[in-house]
């Protein structure tokens, strides 16, 4: 019974409890995942266009990008960015004649990591969605006299997004899960807070268990939202 009471105390709100740090960590997790996701989907769309475009070199560069990022563990991508970005950025800056110190903080590195990985997966989602649009649609807007760009924007893209929605939902869930890896580079997201709490209180099971529940709820709510949006787009 004593143990139960102390667990309640540990998870309580206030100076002694860990609720506030946990909530803060959850905030960082959501911020990191959503920033990385939005940027990643935008980048992924550009990459998908590059793959579908007429320029063979750009297309193969885009394919190489997705092959590499999908082929190596996300953790390795995180380490690359963590140990590599500062040096790379300073090197570029030197080229422009700037010699001061530039630093990228761990949160930015985290957002970049989520962006790179979600971009590669969402580009495949978009390409797949593009593939499902019947060739007749392209012919139809050409027959209507729409220019290719306008046709793409008015006819193809709305359908593409509807087709891509389930896939994009998966990418979002993946982004949430990927943020847990950022704890290894000291981003103060949920997993990091939970680890810290577990180690200092000597109750890692309680805190990692709490983390499991929180992520479960986050994923469950996310899937519900995506399904709701899908349904709305289908009938709307």
């Amino acid at each position: 019974m004593a143990a139960d009471a102390s667990i309640l105390q540990m998870l309580a709100w206030g100076d002694q409890g860990w609720s506030r740090p946990l909530l803060f960590g959850l905030g960082v997790t959501i911020a990191c995942a959503s920033l990385g996701y939005v940027l990643g989907v935008a980048l992924g769309f550009a990459i998908a266009l590059a793959k579908l475009g007429n320029n063979r070199w750009i297309a193969s560069a885009a394919n190489l990008y997705t092959t590499v990022v999908r082929g190596v563990p996300p953790l390795l991508v995180i380490f690359l960015l963590f140990f590599g970005t500062n040096g790379a950025l300073m090197w570029v800056a030197r080229g422009f004649g700037y010699t001061g110190y530039i630093e990228i903080d761990a949160f930015t590195v985290g957002v970049m990591a989520v962006t790179l990985v979600s971009a590669s997966y969402s580009s495949e989602v978009f390409r797949g969605a593009h593939g499902t649009i019947p060739a007749g649609q392209f012919e139809a807007f050409a027959a209507l006299g729409l220019r290719p760009f306008l046709g793409l924007c008015l006819v193809i893209m709305p359908q593409m997004f509807r087709q891509a929605l389930p896939g994009l939902g998966n990418v979002w869930i993946m982004a949430i899960k990927e943020t847990t890896l950022l704890s290894v580079i000291s981003v103060a997201e949920l997993m990091r807070v939970v680890g810290l709490a577990g180690r200092t209180t000597g109750q890692p099971f309680v805190f990692y268990g709490a983390a499991a529940v929180i992520y479960f709820v986050l994923v469950a709510v996310s899937s519900r939202v995506f399904i709701a949006v899908e349904n709305r787009m289908r009938w709307g």
Partner: protein, 276 residues
């Protein structure tokens, strides 16, 4: 009590005498980088303020140098590049003076030295060895945990590579957890985290193993800890060293050491730098 009181008075008097508005305003502030997560050298209060042995000492040095100082917390892994690239002027926080680091960078004189120690469960057969050779024999075939990138890891590489199963940890806390759980037979780290662990209620089953391992026996362990700087900031290094000489002579280093470690870790003033 009396001694402390006079010390404080002397410090106040000194500060009053030297606090002419000229120097502190003219020189740029000293940018100090520190880890903030390595008790008792450098740590962070829940309110987000830096504190610890090295922080207190650096503050006194700044006072003596008549310079404004700004502390920034950054994890140790990125600190050396940041120093080299000019983000900081000096790094403090239990940084060991080693020959490799001295090749590329400069150190202030050493101001403290702590041995590294193995720790193991009280019930372990590793206890009660009087010399390193005895302990080494007992360690063969065991599983040993160590934090990566530390002097302790280097010690294992040099003395025990191939004879023991080494596990690398990202931080001391995880190392403690696995030592308490019994996943590793022994762990090697600086003496200070072991004092903290064995003093806590969780760590009462753990014991610090003798002997102490230090630079007298293993010269690559370094002559203690110092402030780490770029080679070209020679003037700041000299000023820092002079201030350290004064603080050592005044017994300030010993006093802070007592406060943070419970015993004296200070090293003697370097006669080459401080004179007699």
């Amino acid at each position: 009590m009396n001694g402390k009181w006079t010390e404080r008075l002397a410090a106040v008097a000194l500060a009053a005498v030297f606090a002419t508005p000229v120097s502190a305003e003219d020189l740029p502030e000293v940018r100090i980088g520190t880890d903030g997560g390595y008790l008792p050298w450098t740590s962070m209060t829940p309110a987000g303020e830096l504190t610890g042995f090295d922080i207190e000492l650096a503050k006194l040095v700044c006072e003596r140098m008549q310079r404004n100082c700004r502390f920034t917390a950054q994890p140790w892994e990125g600190q050396i590049p940041a120093l080299e690239q000019g983000k900081y002027d000096i790094l403090v926080g239990g940084i060991s003076i080693t020959p490799e680091r001295q090749k590329r960078l400069a150190f202030t004189q050493s101001y403290g030295n702590l041995p590294i120690n193995f720790a193991a469960a009280k019930s372990s057969d590793l206890n009660g060895k009087s010399s390193w050779s005895e302990l080494k024999k007992a360690l063969i075939g065991k599983t040993i945990g160590v934090q990566s990138g530390t002097q302790s890891q280097k010690f294992i590489d040099n003395e025990l590579k191939g004879d023991v199963d080494v596990r690398l940890y990202d931080n001391q806390d995880s190392l403690n957890l696995d030592l308490l759980a019994g996943r590793i037979d022994a762990a090697l780290a600086g003496r200070s985290p072991w004092i903290a662990l064995t003093g806590s209620s969780q760590g009462e089953t753990v014991e610090i193993l003798s002997p102490n391992l230090d630079f007298e026996q293993f010269d690559y362990l370094g002559v203690g800890v110092g402030g780490l700087m770029r080679k070209e900031t020679e003037e700041l290094r000299k000023a820092w060293d002079v201030a350290l000489c004064q603080l050592k002579k005044d017994g300030e280093v010993t006093r802070i050491s007592q406060q943070w470690f419970g015993f004296d870790i200070s090293t003697k003033a370097d006669p080459k730098i401080c004179g007699e």
